[in-house]
Each structure stands twice: as structure tokens, then as C-alpha cells.
């Protein structure tokens, strides 16, 4: 029982982390609270459906196409819109909200008022250490984990990732050092939106696809980022696990309808005790 709860928590935590890390990356480098982040998740799922089911190219190609396409779309939006709002909390939020409304309504128009499913690339179950996993959930967790590790390596050691950290610490100083800060910011935005699309594409087979599917993951990503601290990737990862555990325990003890309320309450308590979250910085 305990093993199953912990295993479920880790798997849920890893899927939350994909969204949350993107959100925190955008805040860290661009100083923007991206309220539109859920729409990139949704676009990941929707594109997956079109490429995998309508065009019939299969799950893997579709997932790759949606991640790349959404990442490029993110890049374009950063250059066209978000570039004007770096460091400007409220205006950036409102611009993101405007984009959310626009992206969602266009998608509803194209998609139609229905919910569709995507076939999972895997089926079956495994038993590991007394806990039972479905293959597709193991796959989600595995891909998320690999992606997160790769991103962590990238930010820590790759030339561009280090430039990203320099920009997030002080974009003026980074610019003086010859780092093309604006390009780095656009890159960070593209990576973050690509991660969100990956999240949508991974989770789509286990739930449903429709143009409203981004709002719940967005809410949880916010909770995770509040607890982990804005701008901290490690904080987001830890907080994702905390929220994954909290979700499972709340569902077990109080009923799943309270899981989101308790998550919010936990976020408030953390912020009041530690005003910048577990590992946040300015």
C-alpha cells in the first residue's frame, strides 16, 4: 500500500514537473508569469491527436512533431509579444491572458466542441517492489525523468544553459559580457513551451484531449512553483514530488475533490513561512 502510494506520487510528481520547470524557467529568465503556459500543454495534446490519429503517423512521430512545433510557436510569441513585457509582472500577465483567450478560442473553432482520445503506444502492467504500474504510466514517468535530467545537465553545463543562468541572475551584466540576452530569453521560452507540449503529449493517452485540457495542469504548475520558489528548477522538482504525494494522500484521506484545495493551502503556508518558496530567488 505504502509502496503503491509512493510510486504513484513519484509518477504524478514527474508529470507535474514538466509543466512547473518550464514555468519557473520562464520566470527566472524573462521575469514573466506565463499564464498562457497551459495552452502550450493543450497544443501539445491537440497536435498529437492531429498527427497521430488524423494523419496516422503514429504516436512517437506525432509527439516529436508537437514538441518541436509548439517550441517554435513559443519562440515566435516570445519575439512578437513577451519581449515587450520582460520584468513587468502585471502587464506580462495580462498579455499572457490575452494570448490564452485567443489561442483557446481559435483551437475550439478548429477542434469543435468535443473531447477525443489518443491511443497509447503501450499497454500492460508491471509489478515492481509490490507496486503495480501500467506500462503507459511508466513510460510517462521515464520520458519525463530523462527530459528533466537532460535539461538539468543543459542548464548546468552547456554553453547556452550557462548563458541562460547568467541572464536570469542579471541580464544587464550578462549583456555586457557579450551574451545575446534577448536570444537566450527566446530560447528559454521555446524550451519551456516545448516542455509543456511534451507534458500534454505524454499525458494525452491517459486522459482526454480538448482545448480546455491545459487549465488544471497550469493551476498545479503554479502551486508547484510557489512552493518550490520562482526561478528554481531544483525547487520545482522537489515541490512536484511534494505535491504528487499530497495529491495521493489527500485523495486517500479526505477524498480527491479536496486535493486541489489542500494543495493551495499548502502553498499559502509555505509562502508565509518562507516568502520566496523552498529554493526561490529574486
Amino acid at each position: 500500500m505504502a509502496a503503491q502510494v509512493i510510486a504513484n506520487s513519484i509518477i504524478l510528481g514527474l508529470t507535474l514537473a514538466l509543466m512547473a520547470i518550464g514555468l519557473t524557467l520562464i520566470f527566472g529568465t524573462l521575469k514573466i508569469v506565463n499564464f498562457a503556459h497551459g495552452e502550450f500543454y493543450m497544443l501539445g495534446g491537440v497536435l498529437l491527436y492531429y498527427v497521430a490519429e488524423s494523419a496516422g503517423l503514429g504516436y512517437w512521430i506525432a509527439a516529436a512533431v508537437s514538441v518541436v512545433a509548439v517550441g517554435m510557436f513559443g519562440w515566435v510569441l516570445e519575439v512578437l509579444v513577451f519581449r515587450r513585457f520582460h520584468g513587468d509582472l502585471i502587464s506580462g500577465c495580462i498579455a499572457a491572458i490575452a494570448l490564452t483567450i485567443g489561442i483557446q478560442s481559435i483551437t475550439w473553432e478548429v477542434w469543435g466542441p468535443r473531447t477525443r482520445g489518443v491511443d497509447s503506444p503501450m499497454s500492460g502492467e508491471h509489478e515492481i517492489l509490490g507496486a503495480i504500474f501500467s506500462s503507459e504510466r511508466l513510460l510517462i514517468a521515464g520520458v519525463s525523468l530523462v527530459t528533466i535530467l537532460a535539461l538539468t545537465w543543459f542548464v548546468k553545463y552547456h554553453r547556452l544553459g550557462r548563458a541562460m543562468r547568467a541572464v536570469s541572475q542579471d541580464s544587464e551584466a550578462a549583456r555586457v559580457q557579450g551574451i545575446p540576452a534577448l536570444k537566450i530569453m527566446a530560447l528559454a521560452f521555446a524550451i519551456a513551451t516545448g516542455l509543456a507540449a511534451l507534458g500534454g503529449a505524454l499525458v494525452a493517452p491517459t486522459t482526454f484531449v480538448n482545448p480546455a485540457m491545459g487549465s488544471t495542469p497550469l493551476t498545479f504548475a503554479f502551486i508547484v512553483v510557489i512552493i518550490g520558489g520562482m526561478g528554481s528548477i531544483a525547487g520545482s522538482l522537489i515541490a512536484s514530488m511534494v505535491i504528487g504525494l499530497q495529491q495521493n494522500l489527500t485523495a486517500l484521506w479526505l477524498g480527491s475533490q479536496w486535493s486541489i484545495g489542500v494543495a493551495f493551502a499548502l502553498a499559502i503556508v509555505v509562502l508565509v513561512i518562507r516568502p520566496k518558496g523552498l529554493m526561490g530567488h529574486d
Binding site: 509582472l89 502585471i90 503554479f222 502551486i223 510557489i226 509562502l271
Partner: protein, 333 residues
């Protein structure tokens, strides 16, 4: 100078009289539907004016709609479950919202900037969950019926004039606040907190009062909303409520009191009048919002000030404009 001013005053007088006549005629000429839209506009004006107070001090909350909800539930449930007279429910709604806001901001004011935004977002999330899932009290998703009469027999026209009176009183109160010592201390707290503190302004107290006054008016508005609609459900008070308030404030600009009023009236009317056209309404809202944010970051009021300053200087140069910390600009610190 006086000669030039006289026709201008006359013009303003005529415009004001025409506006008053239109507002009074709405329920008689337009019927219940337009009276309903009018009521929405009035309540939204009160919401955005209340929200503006705390935002002047540099803190942007995300839970203003929650105080509206608290007022609506307090008033609605007191009247329908305990049979308390609506007048008392109305006052209780304002008091309850103010009380909750004080309990929230005392710990929450420890955090700044984006973190305050997020902590109040968390509060909105918790209360949303309570409204939705404590259904034995609130009726949850399905909602709850409440006393439908504010005054007289509770027709839409009567509600319209009650709420019109309420918004006029609210505007007067906020105008007086703007001119008062307290009101003049709000912007300095937002622009230069440390400086304000050393010049003898109690920063925390100013923020607590700004938040509580805004919440109280949101609660009162929520009460009127509940009794006008005669029905409330958790669907009425989601995070989009707060988002719209933010939008009105951004479109209007925060520094002048009339800015947010214009923002709320214009955007509410646009949203209502375009409602029939589905996707185009959403796209229009989205495009207007983006254009406003990109082309005039200080809102309509800021744009008007810039134009005025340009004319006053008699040159083509933009007259500096306000420093960025003065407007809707919040750095991440």
C-alpha cells in the same frame, strides 16, 4: 483663460446631463436585458475601484473576486437559511469580506511583488474549492437560491436603481479617499516604500486599510449581485473574475480614478454587446487586450495624460510621462 474655460465647462455639463439621462432611461427603454447589463457594469466599476486602492500601494492581489464571492455567500445564506433581513445581510457581507481580507493580508503582506500575487492566487484557489465542495452549505456547482428582493418588489428596474445608487455612493467614497491624507499616502507606499516609511507613513497599516476597504466594497457588491440574481453558484466566482478586474485596471490605467472606471465600463459593454458572436468575441477581446498592453502600457488614463502633456508643452516631444514605477509597472525586484 476664463473665456476659454466657460464653453468647456458648459460642454462638460451638457455631456454629464446627457449621460445621466441615458443611464436613467436604460431600464425603461431597454427593458430587463439592458437593465441587467447596466447592473453588471455598475458592480464591475465598484470592483475595479476597490481593487485599485491596494494596487496603488504596489501590491497586486489575485483574489479580489473572492471577496465578491464571500459577500455574495454571506448575504445570500444569511437571508435564505436564517431569514435575516436583506439590509442587514448587505452590511454583514461587507463586514465579512473586510474581516477576511484583514486576516489574509496580515500574514500575506510579508511577501512582495509576484509572491503576493501568488499567495492571493492560492487563497482564491482554496476558497474556490470550499465554495465548490462544501456543497451542504453553498450548494456547490448546482448553486443555491437566495432572497430575490433588495427593495420594493425586487423587479429588475428597482434593482437597477438600487445598484445605481450604490455605485454612485461608492464612487463618491473612493473620490473622497483619493483626496484624503490616507489616499495621498497610497502611491508613495507603492513607488518608494522605504522612503514612505521613513517619512512617517505606516506602510503595513496603509496596505491593510487599502485591502480591507477594497474587500468591503467587493463584499457589498457581491451581496447586491446575489440578491439581484436570486441565485449564486460556485461558477460565478472563478479566477476569470479577478482576471477581468485586472484587465479593466490595465486598460484604464491605475493612476487616475476615472481610468479604471472607463476600463470597466468599456470592456464590460464590449464583452456583453459582442456576446452573440461566439469566437469573434473572444478573439476581439484578446486582440484589444494585446494591443492595449503593447501600445499604451499606462492605460487610457496614461495615454490621455501623455497627450495632455504634449499639448501643454506645445512641442512634439513626449513630455517624459510618469516614471515607470508610477504606473502599472511592477519590476520583479
Amino acid at each position: 483663460m476664463t473665456k476659454a474655460k466657460l464653453p468647456r465647462r458648459a460642454l462638460i455639463g451638457v455631456l454629464a446631463a446627457a449621460l445621466a439621462a441615458i443611464i436613467i432611461m436604460v431600464p425603461f427603454v431597454g427593458g430587463d436585458y439592458y437593465a441587467h447589463i447596466g447592473i453588471l457594469v455598475f458592480l464591475n466599476v465598484v470592483l475595479v475601484l476597490g481593487y485599485r486602492l491596494l494596487s496603488l500601494t504596489g501590491l497586486y492581489s489575485f483574489c479580489h473576486i473572492t471577496f465578491f464571492a464571500i459577500g455574495a455567500y454571506t448575504s445570500g445564506l444569511l437571508s435564505s437559511k436564517l431569514g435575516v433581513p436583506v439590509g442587514l445581510c448587505f452590511l454583514a457581507a461587507g463586514a465579512m469580506a473586510a474581516l477576511v481580507s484583514v486576516l489574509l493580508i496580515l500574514p500575506a503582506a510579508r511577501v512582495r511583488g509576484v509572491y503576493f500575487f501568488l499567495v492571493t492566487f492560492g487563497f482564491l484557489g482554496v476558497m474556490d474549492s470550499v465554495f465548490l465542495h462544501w456543497s451542504s452549505l453553498t450548494g456547490g456547482d448546482a448553486g443555491v437560491l437566495v432572497e430575490a428582493t433588495i427593495i420594493g418588489t425586487g423587479t429588475q428596474t428597482q434593482d437597477y436603481f438600487v445598484i445605481l445608487a450604490f455605485v454612485l455612493i461608492a464612487i463618491l467614497v473612493f473620490y473622497r479617499i483619493d483626496r484624503s491624507r490616507f489616499g495621498r499616502e497610497l502611491a508613495p507606499v507603492g513607488n518608494a516604500e522605504a522612503l514612505a516609511a521613513v517619512s512617517g507613513i505606516n506602510v503595513l497599516k496603509t496596505r491593510v486599510f487599502a485591502f480591507a476597504i477594497g474587500a468591503a466594497f467587493a463584499g457589498l457588491a457581491g451581496s447586491l449581485f446575489a440578491h439581484d440574481a436570486a441565485y449564486i453558484s460556485s461558477n460565478n466566482f472563478g479566477m476569470w473574475g479577478t482576471i477581468y478586474i485586472l484587465v479593466w485596471l490595465a486598460v484604464g490605467g491605475v493612476r487616475r480614478m476615472w481610468g479604471p472606471i472607463v476600463g470597466a465600463v468599456a470592456m464590460t459593454l464590449v464583452a456583453e454587446l459582442l456576446r452573440m458572436s461566439g469566437i469573434w468575441q473572444a478573439l476581439f477581446y484578446s486582440a484589444v487586450l494585446l494591443l492595449v498592453m503593447m501600445a499604451m502600457p499606462q492605460g487610457i488614463a496614461g495615454l490621455a495624460d501623455t497627450i495632455k502633456a504634449r499639448f501643454a508643452k506645445g512641442s512634439g516631444a513626449v513630455a517624459g510621462g510618469p516614471p515607470s514605477a508610477d504606473g502599472l509597472v511592477e519590476g520583479s525586484e
